[in-house]
Subunit: 328 residues, 2 copies
């Protein structure tokens, strides 16, 4: 039996789109289809569509006679053990929806549901920057800021799937707002947070009459986004670079706590940390070296994520590969 | 074969005394002997004495024909994998000493070395307040402040035995000194830290002309110790109670971070938190409820340690029960 004969079905659910894929346990994506989530229509039509797409994928891949397992990677909060959603912020109609039951009845296979930060941590650990690590911390650093933890070679989800839900923790008494809290980790280390921090610095620059490329984008400077700030920083803009330095310092400060608590081998930083690794990771490393125990600081490697566009599909495949911890 | 026929040998090494015991895998201590560590004499005489005492214990317990395993619980920093000490603060002559090799050659048995915070966490998890928990955090809260982590039903030591080495992490920009850092967790949440905090508050009280029982102990108030502050607090002294409230708040603040990172079932607080649970744990619980995600806050129980004088012996027995992670 070759690996591609019995692939896994991965379902990556997001607030705007759903991706369904066939992939192998070695991390090869064989085929995929994407379609809009349409949260306004509720979860049932989406589950029908997922089942239809799964059939389509199996039909057009005749080598894949059947699937070995099904994994779902989805935004939290959710209960991986009970198999349902708990008020996902961008998908209010999915609140309380028993996605595992809905998909198991449609697909005829056991389904493993997993929080997307945890599933992405597994993907980087199995197939990306963290291969072979014993203890790995993965930071999403994208629209939001969450962590996934691999501890002693095993995913740690926690009894309520809340392990790694660190976005609201305070890293500064003041600063941008994330997770409804001013000065939180997500307030600094996320796309919207980074943009807010830029606006705060630009507002100060008006008073000190310092110029910035971000004043000349042809739009109100208060509407700059993370991409704008990234482009300006790459072009040497002082204020934009200052934003990334401060984001890196806050990432490093929080990382230093987690390094001293867990003594990890590696910290893998997702999307923004991957795209702007040169700007963000050096100040973060400095902070870790300054604040941590030397033994823990010299152990840990702080690296950008390796997986790119495929992360979501591989995360869902990784969910399928994990043993279930369903409630009895 | 009854459990007592093949007991475990537990060796609890501290800066002032060493305890050698025979105990069962069910946590029953069958016999023990204690003697001074005499760090000035170096580790070799101590290891000879340990071997002699082990023979003595087996002789006077004829039911115990042989031992099933040997565990050593000792102060860090140490390498459980390499089996040696790394500069233990109160035992400088033991720096670099290969305790595992020294004891294996004398005892003729494999020896498992473990950091005492980790071994004590195992003891509370197997035999104390944390029985049956999936994820447990144990705080030593004694002369020093360290943590031991049981994650998903397994001890997490980290590759350098540095997991849980949290005493130096900052919980305040100012305050008492612990682990050479002002405002650190150990600065507040340890015996010496608590005493320092009392002295800081008493110095303020002199300026505000507030009286305290701690001024009337028949010694310079700058020499109060944690026991003095505890006794005064139990007797209703406002300043002493204020010290414990602040210590509890700082314990809760740090716990809230670890709760949001790990989503644990239980946090078990050692010595000072056990003796003064009524003073310390309520403000700590309030802080957790205020700062944490509601799902994680409502999950976690914050409780005093259950084991008392036997902790060290049971910790050493627990080290013997753990699989070895020796370096190849």
């Amino acid at each position: 039996m070759s690996d591609s004969t019995f692939p896994f079905l991965g379902i990556d659910i997001g607030g705007t789109k759903i991706s369904v894929c066939l992939g192998t346990s070695e991390g090869k994506i064989l085929d995929r289809e994407r379609f809009p989530t349409n949260p306004a229509h509720g979860p049932d039509p989406a589950c029908d569509k997922i089942a239809n797409v799964a059939s389509l994928l199996l039909e057009r891949n005749p080598d894949c006679q059947k699937i070995a397992g099904v994994g779902v990677s989805a935004p939290g909060p959710l209960s991986s053990r009970a198999g349902h959603f708990i008020n996902p912020p961008n998908m209010p109609t999915w609140h309380g929806f028993s996605i595992v039951q809905a998909l198991e009845s449609r697909l005829g296979h056991p389904v493993r549901l997993m929080n997307d930060a945890n599933a992405s941590a597994l993907a980087e650990w199995r197939f990306g920057a963290g291969k072979g690590a014993e203890t790995l911390v993965f930071f999403t650093m994208s629209t939001g800021m969450g962590a996934g933890l691999i501890i002693g070679g095993r995913l740690h989800e926690g009894p309520d799937d809340m392990a790694g839900e660190v976005g609201h923790l305070p890293v500064s008494p003041d600063g941008p707002v994330g997770f409804s809290r001013r000065g939180s980790l997500e307030g600094f280390c996320s796309g919207p947070g980074l943009a807010q921090l830029a606006v705060l610095k630009l507002t100060q620059a008006i008073h000190t009459e310092e110029d910035s490329k971000l004043f000349h984008l042809g739009k109100d400077y208060r509407l700059v986004n993370a991409e704008d700030v990234g482009a300006a920083a790459v072009n040497g803009d002082r204020i934009a670079r200052d934003v990334f330095r401060e984001v890196g310092e806050k990432l490093g400060m929080f990382s230093s706590w987690i390094v001293d608590v867990l003594n990890p081998d590696i910290i893998v930083v997702g999307t923004i940390g991957r795209i702007h690794a040169d700007l963000i990771l050096p100040p973060a490393r400095e902070e870790i070296n300054r604040a941590c125990h030397p033994a823990s600081a010299s152990r840990v490697r702080l690296v950008p994520a390796k997986l790119e566009a495929e992360t979501g599909d591989l995360a869902a495949i990784c969910a399928a590969l994990e043993p279930s911890e369903k409630q009895q």
